[in-house]
Symmetry: C2
Subunit: 442 residues, 2 copies
């Protein structure tokens, strides 16, 4: 059986082809020039946050671990590379035995990050570390973009639950990763069944306008839904006239109706009217769910409205204006020879900006003030100052090729909420601003 038999829209039998061709051609040339086994350190970082954003959110780390573990070149893949004449036979033989045996350190998932933060560090031979560039960046750039948007929405929503509903607005498998990242960023549920299946995120959903239109009357539709899903269901009340729909909804379901959903119009105004009507009808516990083109600003603008939950789609899965991060994967140090034990030498592209061109393997720590509030992101290449030793950010993720940092998604979500809470208060302003922590290089 192969993945095509399983009906997967993309038949790729491992993660090894989520790779830009140049990684393999560099491998081939390095094998030939006798540099492939030079000990190397690559780091993932971003030179800046998306414009106006005050912090970034690391997400996708758990998916990176899966991807690294399954980065293998099987016969099908080797056959493809051979047939296309992309690589020579010595390189294909090398790949046949390949599995990553190096070390990966990184910010744990859910942690916040700033310009220059060494979000992930991959150490091994050049050969093994260079191969992981694209798949690591794909995952972190996508997932972190969604998590950052989710985090802002979660700040805006306060205690009200957030439902991820964006699957239809993004690639069908992006959608699954987006649900996961949204959960890390503070969302509570998803409409996407594949995300529920794969990541055990609670799923939600009851009906769309099509269900009302399928029936001869709105009352018929509501009756059908309540008969099937119970009076605790959420009825969609904006297909025709909202006031009439709310009246019908409570007549059909009784005052124990779970919720009504409003998907269009002036949500602030309509929510107030609907709340009043529900209360007058005795449906004082019936919740109001809104789901129309929301982003963090729209959510914030509804803070004073009687809204009980938000469903967010497009703006979440597209990162609320920033659908990708600008994380890069750069060689920062390498040995001068393939001889084991050769010391590492810092390297950097010359044309990069002053601060961010810092070569060398980096540590990072978050300096806190006496109240435990973060005051700076401190990055260095030398010894870690004693006073920062306990505040280091990177943890071992992969040691000698073995994944050592698996954790439940709830751990990443809790970590994010805790890390965000330790930032200065201005971190959670939605307005555009500078990164809330300055990056200090020591």
């Amino acid at each position: 059986m192969n993945t095509a038999d399983l009906g997967l829209p993309v038949a790729v039998p491992s993660t090894a082809l989520f790779t830009d061709q140049y990684e393999l051609t560099m491998l081939q040339a390095a094998l030939r020039s006798g540099t492939a086994e030079r000990r190397s350190v690559f780091e993932v970082f971003t030179r800046r946050l998306p414009e106006g954003r005050r912090y970034g959110v690391v997400a996708g780390t758990g998916r990176v671990l899966d991807a690294v573990e399954n980065f293998r070149f099987d016969e099908t893949i080797l056959g493809f590379l051979r047939e296309r004449a992309i690589l020579d036979e010595p390189t294909l033989r090398w790949l046949a035995d390949f599995r990553f045996r190096g070390d990966i350190w990184g910010y744990p998932e859910g942690e916040v990050y700033f310009p220059g933060s060494p979000i992930m560090r991959v150490e091994g031979t050049f050969a093994e570390a260079v191969l992981l560039e694209t798949v690591i960046l794909s995952i972190l750039n996508h997932d972190s973009a969604v998590a950052a948007a989710a985090s802002r929405m979660s700040v805006a929503a306060g205690d009200r639950p957030l439902m991820e509903m964006g699957a239809r607005r993004t690639h069908e498998l992006s959608a699954v990763a987006a649900s996961r990242a949204a959960y890390v960023g503070g969302f509570h549920t998803t409409s996407d069944l594949a995300a529920g299946f794969r990541y055990h995120i609670p799923t939600v959903g009851t009906s769309a306008h099509a269900f009302t239109l399928l029936h001869d009357t709105e009352r018929d539709a509501f009756t059908a839904q309540v008969d099937s899903l119970g009076s605790g269901t959420t009825l969609l009340v904006d297909t025709f006239d909202v006031t009439e729909a709310v009246r019908t909804a409570v007549e059909v379901a009784g005052p124990g109706l779970g919720a009504v959903r409003i998907d269009s119009g002036d949500l602030l105004l309509i929510a107030h009217r609907v709340r009043q009507q529900l209360d007058e009808l005795g449906a004082t516990k019936t919740r109001i769910v809104v789901t129309s083109d929301l982003d963090e600003y729209a959510i914030a603008s509804l803070a004073a409205a009687p809204v009980d939950a938000y469903g967010v789609g497009t703006q979440l899965v597209t990162g609320s204006g920033h659908p990708t991060c600008s994380m890069v994967y750069k060689l920062v140090a390498r040995a001068d020879s393939e001889e084991p034990g050769t010391p590492l030498r810092p390297v950097a592209k010359k044309s990069m900006g002053a601060k961010t061109s810092l070569g060398g393997r980096k540590w990072a720590a978050r300096r806190l003030d006496e109240d435990g509030v973060a005051v700076a992101e401190v990055i260095g290449t030398g010894p870690v100052p004693a006073e920062l030793a306990d505040q280091q950010l990177s943890v071992p993720l992969v040691s000698a090729g073995e994944v050592v940092a698996r954790e439940p998604l709830d751990a990443a979500r809790a970590r994010h909420i805790a890390a965000r809470a330790r930032l200065p208060l201005s971190a959670t302003q939605l307005s555009r601003g500078e990164p809330v922590l300055a990056t200090e290089y020591v």
Copy 2:
């Protein structure tokens, strides 16, 4: 073996879970209310193009066909739905036997579209048609967004080849679909090996800055690369000093050097200097490839520069500012009873805008002037006027559950280029503007 064994980052054993939960709860309620078998017509359309865009590009159609064919509920999926108590037993039994047996019509892949264009039409029972909403929208919204950006870039690039290099900026499987969509929109090659594997798109790539930094000198790196990949390779010349690198490159590879790549700096200025230097060195056939944060505007601004090929990443895979389309999937007609042969009645949500609320099954045609230039997108629900009969846009894609419109990707690519060429000249202006064809409803 399951997909997790295959190392796929998302273990979903069919396309059936790329579905929002409400589609299944609607199914359950409709089965119970005796409306599930009502003949129904759903249409995919968009109320507007992304702001300033003059035309849209249909992409993903071929992937939709795969997804529909593989939309099955196996024991694993049914077990998940049962365990989560999402559905009742009669609905689970119904799903166990499910496969789509209806009809799908649509604009063929690569065709252009405008506001209101009925891009895809799904006909069948409500039960079978409602289930496909999310997966169809995911695919079309994502792929069409990338194809639209690709098409604009392809216009800007003229005859110069375009290389897709955005995998690292988007979800790893989005990236594969993005390469495919970019190809439909006019790109020529991709750096993404998975896209080469899955869709047979030609792949490209030679080396990154890390390869130069791995070696003790730039000359060592160039020598290693030329030794391994031949003098026809592309050498990356902006790690340190471009002028020195170009000199070294030609010394190492000889005047037959394939190409140099510039990935930073003022590309217009540098390209002119590098061209002059290459010519002076006798490397008159050596090509210049540029790859630094390009979008359609940057490509256009290099039209007069001696550039031979463009590599595009971030802005391509994120739709150049519009990472998703706003396509929706709406019930537009349905029968009043489950009785076969019951006539269809147009339906529409009341709160939608005047024009786009048009219920009923639609045809679409593109009216041409006497020179064969498109002048209007004509959409109607009644009989097709005789003069438009030959200019209809929709074709059968699935008939009675069988896919009838498989085609090579090159066919979609050729169709797009031909369809774009029939638009008024202003279609290919990059500046913001109105849709280049008005939509007429008859």
